[in-house]
Structures are given as structure tokens and as C-alpha cells.
């Protein structure tokens, strides 16, 4: 019926590692199935160019989803990533257009992301409001600030030099993909190897126990939201580099994709559980799906249907292969 009836065996270390990789393997199987289906249906799907496209198209969502994963592990949620990105984007962009040196403008964008995250974090951790509703409130607030700041107009004409930073390639891979891969590596290290990672799991897993053990609850939560804000800002920089313009309405509905990627990857919205590898796979699953459906020229209503069904299917495959999420 429920997980009450099943209990996991208690066994030594090997089992522990095994158990973890099994979760991610579930997600991986989901991805492989989807790849196989599209590979069979779409000629040229496995062309190197297309595979790179998929990675590139998944990179922004992956970037956000990594931050989202940390927040979710801490027992929270961040619905404000899109507007955070927008605010960061329009401010960086208008500085760039005004001739401010790149590093300064980029730093300002990152600072915006951190401040947005800080505000979310403080309201959740110190004031004690529910994360969902806090970030629902800031979702509107940050978006409004971006719109007011720009008067609703896009900021156009970003310098080519700036765009080159995020538009280049290295070893045949788009820089955006490489940047996100590095971010993923760092996130993985944070989660697996640092005290902060443990704190995140502890705060999300059992806040009371964490408090009694002396874990700095508030600081841990705030840091998670700040990282999420920072990564939203990074995603914004990548995107405006790609588009050459920053719009105040950029990042609409990003939060849903990011949450979907994290959840497909095994993060539990009850907190205390989530995986960097899983999240990346989740983002790639979503990216692959969009790419494949487009190449198959599926009409948009049916694409929407497929999106819904594939999210459900991915969760089912995941559930079957790795046990209850």
C-alpha cells in the first residue's frame, strides 16, 4: 500500500552506494528509453549536431534546476527563479549597453541574483513563512521590478564581446554546456563532500534534529536560496549572451521546468532528498523530449500532451526501477 509495508534492508557500505546509484539509474533508463524512441522515429536524431543542440537547449534549465535541487533538498521550493533571472538580465544588460566593463556588469547581475535569493531565504528562514508562498510573492514582485525598471521594453544591443563570452565553443561543445557542466560538478561536490551539503540534507530531512545538533538552520536555508538566485542569474547571463537582448519578461514559467527536472531526477518535495546527477538527467530528458517532438513535427497541442505524459511516464519508470520516490 504505502511505504510502511516495505522496509529497506540494513546492510553495509556497498549497499549504500549501490542504492544511490540505483536511483539515478532509474532516471537514466528513462532517458535511454526516450532517446531510443526518438532515435527510431526521427532520422538524423543522433547526429552530433542535434545531440549538441539537445545539450545546449537543456543547459539553461539544468542550471536553474541545480539551484532548485539544493533548495528542494533543504525542504523548500523556489518559484521565483524566472523573475530573478529577468531582473538580473535587464540590469546586467542595461549596464553593458551603458558601457560598463563586462566583469562589473556580470558581477552586478550575479549580485542581483544573490540579493533576490537572500530575500527569499530570509523570509523563509528568519520570518518563518512557507517557501511556496514566499516565492510566489517574490515571483510577482521581482517580475514587476524588472518590468518597471525597463518600462516593459527589451534592452537591446549587447556588445558583441560580451556575447562571445557565452556563445563560444570549447572542444566542440558550446560554452554554455561547459559552464553548466562545471556548475553541476561543483553542486555535486557541495552536496556530497562538504558540511554545507550535509546541512542541507539534515535541514530538509529533520529540521528539529538538525537544530539540536547545532546545524545553522537559517544560514543553511538562506544559502540554498542564494545559490538558486545566483544560478538563475547565471542562466540569465547565458541566455542574454545567446539572444543579444534582455527582456523583462524573460524566464516565464522557468520554475516549472526546473522543478520538473529536479523531481524527475529524484528530488523529493518533502525535503531531504535529491541528486545532482538525477537533476541533470531530468533536465536532459525534458530537453530531449522537446527537441524530438519538434523534429517529428508534432503539432503543439499534441506536444503539450506528450510533455504531460512523458513527465508522468518518467516518474513511473523511475518509480518502477528504483522503488518509491
Amino acid at each position: 500500500m504505502t511505504d510502511i509495508t516495505e522496509h529497506t534492508a540494513a546492510r553495509p557500505r556497498a549497499e549504500f552506494l549501490h542504492r544511490f546509484s540505483v536511483r539515478d539509474a532509474g532516471t537514466l533508463i528513462g532517458l535511454v528509453v526516450i532517446l531510443a524512441v526518438f532515435g527510431a522515429l526521427v532520422p538524423g536524431f543522433f547526429a552530433e549536431r542535434n545531440l549538441i543542440n539537445i545539450l545546449q537547449q537543456s543547459s539553461i534549465n539544468a542550471c536553474l534546476a541545480l539551484g532548485m535541487t539544493l533548495v528542494i533538498i533543504s525542504g523548500g521550493i523556489d518559484l521565483s527563479v524566472g523573475p530573478t533571472a529577468a531582473l538580473s538580465a535587464v540590469i546586467s544588460a542595461s549596464m553593458l549597453v551603458a558601457g560598463v566593463p563586462f566583469p562589473l556588469a556580470i558581477a552586478a547581475g550575479f549580485a542581483i541574483g544573490l540579493v533576490c535569493g537572500l530575500l527569499n531565504g530570509v523570509l523563509v528562514a528568519y520570518v518563518g513563512l512557507q517557501p511556496f508562498i514566499v516565492t510566489l510573492g517574490t515571483l510577482s514582485t521581482y517580475r514587476a521590478l524588472a518590468l518597471i525598471y525597463t518600462g516593459g521594453n527589451p534592452v537591446l544591443g549587447l556588445p558583441a564581446g560580451f556575447r562571445a563570452i557565452f556563445n563560444g565553443s570549447l572542444f566542440g561543445l558550446p560554452l554554455a554546456v561547459i559552464i553548466v557542466a562545471v556548475v553541476a560538478l561543483i553542486a555535486w561536490i557541495i552536496l556530497k563532500k562538504t558540511p554545507f551539503g550535509e546541512y542541507l540534507l539534515a535541514v530538509g530531512g529533520n529540521e528539529e534534529a538538525a537544530y539540536i545538533a547545532g546545524v545553522p538552520i537559517a544560514r543553511t536555508k538562506i544559502a540554498a536560496y542564494m545559490i538558486s538566485g545566483l544560478l538563475a542569474a547565471l542562466a540569465a547571463q547565458i541566455l542574454i549572451g545567446r539572444l543579444g537582448a534582455a527582456e523583462p519578461i524573460l524566464g516565464n514559467l522557468w520554475e516549472l521546468d526546473a522543478i520538473a527536472a529536479a523531481a524527475i531526477g529524484g528530488a523529493s518535495l518533502m525535503g531531504g532528498k535529491g541528486s545532482v546527477v538525477g537533476t541533470i538527467l531530468g533536465a536532459v530528458i525534458l530537453g530531449t523530449m522537446r527537441n524530438g517532438l519538434t523534429l517529428m513535427n508534432v503539432q503543439s497541442f499534441y506536444q503539450l500532451l506528450a510533455t504531460g505524459l512523458i513527465i508522468l511516464a518518467a516518474m513511473l519508470i523511475d518509480r518502477v526501477t528504483r522503488g518509491r520516490g
Binding site: M1, I4, T5, H7, T8, A9, A10, R11, P12, R13, E15, F16, R19, I189, K193, T194, P195, G197, E198, L201, A202, G205, N206, E208, A209, A210, Y211, I212, A213, G214, V215, G272, K273
Partner: protein
């Protein structure tokens, strides 16, 4: 004992909204002293220790360590002041490994950046060695049984090399032999000058380890006594404020078979269990940790599904695919892990009580609250709930009183077969006597009762007949006449020593 005590409580009071949990509590604990803290459920023991460990702030009064007042505003400050605490409710993160839990909040790091996992695991294993070397520090804590988790909690407190160790019922789920190992560890701490405050409802433990004890009742100190000069009985009457009648076992068992279990097996732990339970009988089940007792009860309560075997009630075969089937057949389980499996923390005592018998209270689909109130008042009076506040959320009650509410749940549901899993874990002598009395009364009324307990005296006190389980099967059935601790232990322990050594987690239960 040196002149300046290691730890002094001076006039500590603590008020929760509408509840005065402590008033003017003062006593002191010397260097190297093991000091017992005794009192009924709700006397305020945990509250005092939570103040000591920085979880609560006192409303008035101060704590002195080595003669100097200390501010203990949060757990980190308390830890810095040299206080380590084992909490009554296990405070652990199931997702993290044993070692990570033990070092939570103050991990060992390499270069201040990375967690030194290996080193943590090594040190954790060292701390665990004296208590239970079979626990692997690298497994996720959620995979351990309660008893093992409690040992981890104890080992965590030992890591700190604190000046003061507060232990709030550290042995509530441990067996006597595990306590013995703990007692040695505590004695070692005392030799090193650590002050130990030891809370337990198991008086023999307190008498065995402590010289002095402070007795509390209703938030005030009754007296600090020298245990070498007092009898257990005298201490008990100071705790409860009255004489406790020593009741003897009385059997009410009839010959009618009420429950008949044949060849019951689960996919994991239980193999081929058969027994009968009679009307009015109290059947004890003893065995080592991991012998499958809990799982057997869960099968009977419909919480887990049996892979084979039959269960008959009054000669009729019943299907047990979920707890509802069991409840309909008149079976109710008082579970081992009260917090996780027993209570709905935010709901009131009445709601928790009524949960299993909603059909009774809502015959026409709408709950008859007057009736519910009346029944709740009646049942809670019967189990002697204290404080008698039926609308207060259950999470604000002491463990013993939560347990009483769960028993009340089955009384209200008209259950005829009650399954108790460690019924007096974490429950004080007074309440324990009440629960024993209650169990006997229930038997006298014709209920059939199964009591799983790791405390052999409890089994012997209550049971008309005892099944001894070993490795998931019934190793022996002992009649009341043959009942003694040696006999039970002889059947509980696996035949060959080598086998016992191999089987992880099996610990001598007697």
C-alpha cells in the same frame, strides 16, 4: 566530590503558555558524579535537560558550570559549554549515514572545506565499539532499528568529550545486556570527571549506576536523595506521591481459543509461526532484537502482508490485507515507535483516540461530538491521562500519556485482541503499574492480549504463557510455571556461538 559542583541548577523555572513545566528547580551534580533524575511522566525531567542543552530557555533561574553561570541560548552554546545530551526522542536524520549523524553540526573536515568522511567513520566506529561494534558507521541511519539508532545517539554524545553528559532515557529501547555495556561506559566517563545526569524509568538501572538522585514531581524537586540509603519502594513513593501497591500476577485465561495462527510467514523476517491465543489470556513474546517479534505483530495487525499461513478468530479464517481488516476483526496494535507509528502530532487527544473507530462515532456520517467527548473522557479517565486535557494536541503530552491515549484508542474501538509492542518503553513506574493493571483488567474482561517486550521482568510479571522467538520462528513455548529469565534467555539465544557472531545486530537480550 570536589567542593565546587560541576553542574548546578539554581531556581530554574520554565513556563510554556498555560503550562508551568518547572518551578524553582535547584540541585547540583559533582565532578565525576552520576546523578539520577527521577520522576513520573510529565514531571519535567526532559524539560530541565532541554534547558541544559540549550533547546529551551528557562523563564527564570540559572545554570552554573564549575561554579560559573553560563548562558545556554542554543544547542551550539550548550555544546561549547561542554554539555552533551542524549535526547529522549531520537533526534536524527534518516537520510544521512550513521557517522554523518554523529558528527552533524560539527563535521570533521579536510582543510575546512571537505567533510573527512573516512576519518568521521573511523572515529564513529571507535565510539560505537564500546556499545555495539556491529553498527556500520557508513550505512544510512534510516536503515537501522530503533535500538541501534539509540545506541548511535549515545555514541554521538560520547564523541564530544564533554564535561557534562545528560542522558534522557538512553536505554528506552535497549536490552539489559546493552545497558550493561552502557553502564561501563558511563562509569568510565565518571572516572574521567564527567558529570552525568541520568534519566530513566528503569529504577534498577538508576540504582545500579547512580549514588544520588533528584526526584521530581509536577515540575518541582521533591528531594535529592542518597540512593544507597533508600529502598526502591521508598523512591517510588516519593516519585508518585503515594504508595504503589505491588500487584501479583493473576490469570484470567480461559480455554476458548480466540486467535489461532498457523504457519504464518512473511517475505522477510517471520517464518512458520503457529500459536493459539485464548480468551482472557495474556501471551508474552520474548526474544532478541531482530528475532521478528515486531514484524509478527505487524502481520497480525494487518500492517504488513503475510506471504503464507492462516489466521483464525473464533474459528473463522480472516483475511488481513490491511489494518482495517484487523480492526474489523477486533485486533489493535499499540506500536513500538509511538511518534512515528502511533500519534498524529497536531491533533488532539480525543481525535487521536477516535481515529480507529470513526464508524462508531459517526453512525450517520456526521461525528457525534458529544458522544465522542463522553467516550474520550471515560476512556482517558480509565487510562488516567495527565494532564486531563482532551483537546490539547497530543504532541504536547509526555510519552507515557501519548501511550495511554493510544491504548484508549483501542478501548474506544471495542478491540478484543490487543497487541502491545514494548508497551512501557519510556514510561514511568507509576504509569507502568497502571498499564500493567490495565492489561490485567482487560484480560479479566475477556480481552486477549499479546505483549512483546524486551524487559524480561515485564514479560514474567504479565504473561500467562510466553513464546520465545528466535530468527523469526517460535523457538519455545513456556508456561507460567516454567517462567524465569534463564529459561527465556536459553531459548532466545541462537544455539551455536559462531552463528550468533555472524548474524549482525543480534544482541543478547537477557
Amino acid at each position: 566530590m570536589s567542593v565546587i559542583p560541576r553542574l548546578q541548577f539554581e531556581g530554574i523555572s520554565k513556563e510554556f503558555p498555560a503550562v508551568r513545566a518547572l518551578s524553582d528547580v535547584s540541585f547540583s551534580v559533582g565532578v565525576g558524579e552520576i546523578h539520577g533524575l527521577l520522576g513520573e511522566n510529565g514531571a519535567g525531567k526532559s524539560t530541565l535537560l532541554r534547558i541544559l542543552s540549550g533547546v529551551y530557555r528557562p523563564t527564570a533561574g540559572s545554570v552554573l558550570i564549575d561554579g560559573r553561570p553560563v548562558t545556554l541560548n542554543n544547542p551550539v552554546a550548550a555544546r561549547a559549554a561542554g554539555v552533551a545530551m542524549i535526547h529522549q526522542e531520537l533526534q536524527q536524520v534518516p537520510q544521512l549515514s550513521v557517522a554523518q549523524n554523529m558528527f552533524l553540526g560539527h563535521p570533521l573536515t579536510r582543510g575546512g572545506i571537505f567533510v573527512a568522511r573516512r576519518e568521521q567513520e573511523r572515529r564513529a566506529a571507535e565510539a560505537l565499539a564500546a556499545l555495539d561494534p556491529t553498527i556500520d558507521p557508513a550505512v544510512p541511519l534510516g536503515n537501522l532499528k530503533v535500538a541501534q539508532r539509540q545506541i548511535v545517539e549515545i555514541a554521538r554524545a560520547l564523541l564530544d568529550r564533554a564535561r557534562i553528559v545528560a542522558m534522557d532515557e538512553p536505554t528506552s529501547s535497549l536490552t539489559p545486556s546493552e545497558f550493561e555495556r552502557l553502564a561501563e561506559v558511563i562509569a568510565g566517563l565518571a572516572r574521567d570527571g564527567v558529570a552525568v545526569v541520568y534519566v530513566s524509568h528503569k529504577l534498577d538501572e538508576v540504582f545500579g549506576s547512580c549514588q544520588r538522585a533528584t526526584i521530581m514531581r509536577d515540575g518541582v524537586v521533591v528531594e535529592t536523595v542518597d540512593l544507597t540509603k533508600l529502598s526502591e519502594k521508598a523512591v517510588v513513593s516519593m516519585m508518585v506521591g503515594r504508595e504503589l501497591a505491588q500487584e501479583q500476577h493473576r490469570s484470567h485465561a480461559s480455554t476458548d481459543v480466540r486467535l489461532s495462527v498457523r504457519c504464518l510467514a512473511s517475505a522477510t523476517k517471520v517464518h512458520d509461526v503457529s500459536f493459539d491465543l485464548h480468551r482472557g489470556e495474556v501471551l508474552g513474546i520474548a526474544g532478541l532484537v531482530g528475532s521478528g517479534r515486531t514484524e509478527l505483530l505487524r502481520l497480525l495487525a494487518g500492517a504488513d502482508r503475510a506471504s503464507s499461513g492462516t489466521v483464525d478468530i473464533d474459528g473463522k479464517a480472516i483475511k488481513l490485507s490491511n489494518p482495517r481488516d484487523a480492526i474489523a476483526a477486533g485486533i489493535g496494535l499499540v506500536p513500538e515507535e509511538r511518534k512515528r507509528e502511533g500519534i498524529v502530532p497536531l491533533r488532539s487527544i480525543s481525535s487521536n483516540m477516535a481515529l480507529a473507530s470513526m464508524g462508531v462515532f459517526a453512525p450517520r456520517g456526521v461525528i457525534d461530538h458529544t458522544r465522542l467527548k463522553r467516550v474520550a473522557a471515560e476512556k482517558m479517565k480509565r487510562v488516567n491521562l495527565r494532564p486531563f486535557l482532551l483537546d490539547r494536541p497530543i504532541r504536547l503530552f509526555s510519552g507515557g500519556n501519548q501511550q495511554k491515549a493510544i491504548i484508549g484508542r483501542w478501548l474506544a474501538a471495542g478491540t478484543r485482541i490487543l497487541l502491545f509492542d514494548e508497551p512501557t518503553r519510556g514510561i514511568d513506574v507509576g504509569a507502568k503499574a497502571e498499564i500493567y493493571h490495565l492489561i490485567e483488567e482487560l484480560a479479566a474482561e475477556g480481552h486477549s492480549v499479546v505483549v512483546v517486550s524486551s524487559e524480561l521482568p515485564e514479560v514474567i510479571r504479565l504473561a500467562d504463557r510466553v513464546l520465545v522467538m528466535r530468527d523469526g520462528t517460535v523457538a519455545a513455548e513456556l508456561d507460567r510455571a516454567d517462567l524465569n529469565e534463564q529459561a527465556i534467555a536459553a531459548h532466545a539465544i541462537p544455539q551455536s556461538e559462531t552463528q550468533a557472531g555472524k548474524a549482525q545486530g543480534h544482541r543478547a537480550g537477557a
